[in-house]
């Protein structure tokens, strides 16, 4: 929603274009490098002889007859059954995002509209909760989970991820609801709506920018989590990240690093397609508030 009335001086356009390009290079270069390298063998991608090998791939040529190989992908997806983890990650992220946002919008709305002192203290408590390092929390879960025989399953992990993500979701959505004018829902209530109806009819239609942004972060949390998923899931239910970690090997065992590299790339490419496909919705989601502001 730029204002057509003002034109930018060329120097500023140059500066800002240059900055965007610079930022994009910094942000995307390591990933593009990884994507290119995922079609090479380990000896090239992690070559000490010459980093140019990661681009040209002499060892890959020697071993496979061409500068590109699908070895890493085949190893990860077929041999190591990475697809199972992709499905698990899909399930976990879908439910974590949905549940987090449902609980978070309800709670965040209540916190933004209530004027009693305790709302402040709830928000403060949520902050303190968030300060707790996850490693400690997870170590504490193990014994009770084993005793209740709920360790290792996806629903357990989903609930834990929702819970430890809740302080952040509450805070973020609370801030967004604060920026939505009170008159909106209060007018609805004057018209005879209950609080929940007002929320549904007056607030839900305008809350999407906040929800989309918060959803994005919930998604990233669930998608990238290692601490919780590696400790709470058994082998068959592993999500992508702990599965990847298994490819990396350990001190006493040789890893299959290229499997991990291929797996990372193949995990991100669908996201790219998804974002390109939904970019209008995402950008307009992020922009929707402008009209109401």
């Amino acid at each position: 929603m730029s204002i057509p009335a003002h034109r930018k001086p060329p120097s500023l356009i140059l500066l800002s274009t240059g900055f965007v390009l610079f930022w994009l290079v910094i942000a995307a270069f390591p990933f593009l490098w990884t994507m290119w390298g995922s079609f090479k063998v380990e000896g090239d991608f992690f070559s000490r002889a010459d980093w140019m090998n990661a681009l040209t791939g002499p060892v890959t040529v020697k071993q496979h007859g061409s500068a590109f190989t699908l070895d890493g992908y085949e190893g990860a997806w077929i041999q190591q059954e990475f697809w199972k983890s992709v499905i698990n990650t899909g399930i976990v992220t879908f439910f974590v995002v949905t549940i987090s946002l449902t609980l978070g919008t309800l709670g965040g709305y209540a916190l933004a509209r209530s004027e009693f002192k305790y709302t402040f203290w709830i928000l403060m408590a949520a902050l303190v909760f968030r300060a707790m390092p996850h490693v400690t929390l997870v170590s504490g879960y193990l014994l009770p989970f084993f005793e209740m025989n709920i360790w290792g399953y996806l629903p357990t992990t989903i609930i834990v991820l929702v819970a430890i993500n809740q302080p952040f979701t509450l805070w973020m959505l609370h801030s967004f609801f604060l920026s939505i004018p009170k008159d909106l829902d209060e007018a609805a209530m004057v018209d005879g709506c209950t609080r929940f109806q007002a929320f549904r009819l007056a607030i839900i239609p305008v809350m999407w920018p906040g929800v989309v942004t918060t959803g994005l972060f919930s998604f990233l949390l669930a998608y990238n989590d290692f601490t919780v998923t590696s400790m709470l899931l058994n082998q068959d239910n592993l999500t992508m990240i702990p599965k990847l970690n298994g490819f990396l090997g350990s001190t006493q065992e040789d890893g299959k690093v290229m499997y991990a590299v291929a797996a990372v790339v193949s995990a991100i490419v669908p996201l790219f397609v998804l974002i390109l496909f939904f970019q209008r919705q995402i950008v307009s989601g992020l922009t929707a508030g402008a009209v109401k502001g």
Partner: protein, 412 residues
């Protein structure tokens, strides 16, 4: 097309059922639930244990690198979440300390005829675990480069450093040495290795009181410091994964590394076939005039949980006997340095076996060794970087160990 499709599906199904042919392990009933680390040798064993599955015997497994962190809570519950926990010299200790695994004497007498005496891990007169493979660090060397400069594979650290110095002086390599010196678990393992080579003990006999032989410890630290001088400036980031490319780039000719990864150094698909062809293995060097390979010997084995029914314990033990059977060995000779009868040593196991014959000492299976390992891992880097004295590093280690041992109830 459809008939072709059908026949090929049938063929595949046939093949699959043939390869999964259930061995008759003679188990009548029971549930076998295996928890282990995740690497080739253990996967093979679990595969073979799974062959015992029948209509009334279920075999499941969870192979994860986090096994060490989940084994204690998982075996504490009653019934335990797993019946079999595969462990190593160090990871059995928490299970012993918390009394979570059962003595296996009866089961060994009944079903363990295939076992050597050396496979039985005896604690306080009772068999608590069955070992099936050995591991240790060893010397990796480039036979072509050493021969070219008239050097023989070093058997002592004095020779080791002389060879390194010669290679450096000849301009062959600026940093001919590499080893796992990353702070934390790795650097502590190197200290333990070298210290064991001095013949000294870590603790006062019968107690948890730290009693490092001061002279020996300083000798070990100085030895490690000398190593860093022949290593790349990045040594503080070297673990197994970081070391291997250095070797493959031809930047090192002498290395102390794990026997279990030796195979990948000489594998056919190695990116530098020339270097791979001339990579050889030998016992770790000895330190000073002690004549003991400066290295700790490790074993991997399995234990059976305490909090399970006798029926499940029996089923588990017999399934694992199939897991480490001679038939398994025959198909997987190369997967590890097996302790199982009928194992034929190969090129990669030369170093580990030479360590064994040279009288190298085992990694101490003491209840408080893990605390010392952690304390060492956190406090040696500053000395090696030249930021503090050996005495200060040892004092810091002792302080960290004492604090931890007090908290764990070993010291007052």
């Amino acid at each position: 097309m459809t008939t072709f499709f059908k026949t090929s599906v049938a063929a595949i199904a046939l093949m699959a059922s043939a390869s999964l042919a259930n061995a008759d392990c003679g188990i009548e009933k029971g549930s076998v639930r295996i928890l282990s680390n995740d690497f080739t040798a253990l996967r093979v064993i679990a595969d073979w244990a799974e062959k015992c599955a029948t209509g009334s015997v279920t075999v499941t497994r969870n192979q994860t690198q986090e096994h060490k962190n989940i084994q204690t809570p998982a075996l504490t519950t009653n019934p335990a979440s797993y019946t079999v926990a595969m462990v190593a010299s160090n990871s059995i200790v928490p299970l012993l300390n918390d009394d979570l695994i059962r003595p296996l004497d009866d089961l060994v007498a009944k079903y363990g005829q295939q076992l050597n005496d050396s496979q039985k891990i005896v604690v306080d007169g009772k068999i608590m675990a069955i070992a099936f493979m050995a591991n240790s660090q060893q010397l990796f060397y480039r036979d072509d480069i050493l021969a070219e400069h008239g050097l023989t594979p070093p058997t002592t650290y004095a020779e080791f450093f002389a060879a390194a110095e010669k290679l450096r002086a000849a301009g062959v390599m600026a940093t001919p040495v590499s080893s796992n010196f990353k702070p934390g678990w790795n650097v502590a393992a190197e200290f333990v290795n070298t210290y064991l080579g001095t013949g000294a003990d870590f603790f006062a006999p019968g107690t948890a009181a730290l009693a490092l032989d001061h002279d020996a410890a300083v000798e070990v630290l100085d030895n490690m410091k000398t190593m860093t001088e022949y290593m790349s400036a990045d040594w503080a980031t070297y673990d197994s994964n970081a070391q291997k490319p250095v070797w493959e780039a031809g930047e090192a000719a002498l290395s102390i590394a794990w026997g279990s990864i030796a195979g990948s150094y000489i594998a056919e698909d190695n990116p530098s076939p020339e270097i791979a062809k001339h990579t050889s293995f030998a016992a770790a060097p000895t330190i000073g005039d002690h004549g003991i390979p400066a290295v700790a010997l490790w074993w991997d084995g399995f234990t059976i949980a305490k909090n399970i029914s006798d029926e499940d314990a029996e089923a588990s033990f017999r399934a694992m006997m199939n897991g480490i059977s001679g038939d398994m060995l025959a198909e997987n000779q190369e997967a590890a340095v097996w302790l199982i009868d009928g194992y034929e040593p190969s090129k990669t196991s030369a170093g580990v076996l030479a360590n064994l014959q040279g009288g190298a000492r085992p990694y101490p299976m003491l209840p408080y060794m893990g605390l010392l390992h952690t304390a060492l891992g956190d406090n040696l880097a500053e000395f090696l970087q030249g930021k503090e004295s050996a005495d200060q590093a040892l004092a810091d280690t002792a302080a960290a160990y004492n604090t931890a041992a007090k908290e764990a109830g070993f010291l007052n």
